[in-house]
């Protein structure tokens, strides 16, 4: 089984940075044969539709490369904002923090072929 990758987003993302992140991440997944990606957004106090789409995109790319993505550490205010914006991020697994995220990834990757029913869309 390959490794997990941890991405911590701390600064406000703009276009160029986001594209760079997608490049770096996809190459890293390939190089390390990573099976899981954890995106930690606990430092983000504000999220807009751009970031929302970026996360959904990264998740999609990772899936194609046979890696699962888990989004961790979303703050309550951010969750409410995304919901109000109508962004429910379908297809993205979520967990409260990095530790839970890792547990989730291990569980999901052990159930080969079947996905956890209640913590995904």
């Amino acid at each position: 089984m390959g490794e997990f990758l941890l991405v911590t987003i701390q600064v406000d993302m703009h276009d160029q940075l986001a594209l760079r992140l997608q490049d770096d991440l996809t190459s890293a997944i390939e190089k390390k044969s990573a099976k899981g990606v954890l995106i930690d957004i606990s430092a983000l106090e504000m999220v807009d539709s751009f970031i929302g789409r970026m996360i959904a995109d990264i998740s999609g790319m990772a899936r194609i490369l046979d890696a699962k993505t888990v989004l961790v550490g979303m703050q309550p205010a951010v969750a409410i904002t995304l919901v109000e914006l109508g962004l429910s991020l379908p297809g993205v697994l979520t967990a409260l923090n990095v530790e839970r995220g890792m547990q989730l990834l291990r569980r999901v990757l052990n159930d080969v072929g079947s996905d956890d029913h209640f913590i995904q869309r």
């Binding site: 429910s88 409260l96 923090n97 995220g101």
Partner: protein, 282 residues
Amino acid sequence: MSAKNSISVIIQKRRAEIQNEWVRLLTAAVASSKGGISPKDLAQQAEQFLAVLDTALQSQNLNVGAREWDGVRAFLEDLSRQRVLAGFASDETATFIFSLKRPIFAALREESGNDAAQLAEATWRASDLLDQLGLHTIKTFQKAREDVISRQQQELLELSTPVVKLWDGILALPMIGTLDSARTQIVMESLLQKIVDTESQIAIIDITGVPTVDTLVAQHLLKTVTALRLMGADCIISGVRPQIAQTIVHLGVDLEGVTTKANLADALALALKRTGVTFTKL
């Protein structure tokens, strides 16, 4: 003395006797009213009012809304607010002003002597002035009452959305009453924060106490469920009554795979199973 300044003159000349007569009338009125206030406080309020009234009258401007009357209006607003809290009705509060008419008219009659025209004019001005002040008192009283009501509504809102911990990692939110946008906002914020604080995985929203569920309420519930999912927690809705089940189907509301249970017990059993907890009888 002219009709215009007659009120000012008699207040200055006969303040003591007007005050005494006024306090006598006020005490009699309070005795038969719903609220309570001591004779001493009553006398003190009467004295203070006459003092600010005296000052305002010296401006020769009988328009109660003018700047010179700010002190009088502020005094009456304060008085109104106190009366609201002491349990007085609005008419009982306005009596404070209106009962001042009798002693003032009596004093005017004595001062005017035989000049009927002047007496009529002075009485009219005094009556008009006191009417304006009385109306201002009532207006303030109403507003103070409304402020109390809206503050209570706010408190009720906060009280009626408690988040309780049922078990390690399992929170419950019993909802009582109607679910509107304002309430949903508060519910989401407190529930999500509690999830973070307790690191819980499952939240059970019990809607036994929600009388009706229409498309708007369903939307609010779904928003809460989605927000919970984004944070990595799971949601179970319990307390779905038969009528509500029918309404949801008739309205064609899509619950998007949210697990629902008829009662809190079933929801708790499911939540425990999901978190890997089993109970055995000893």
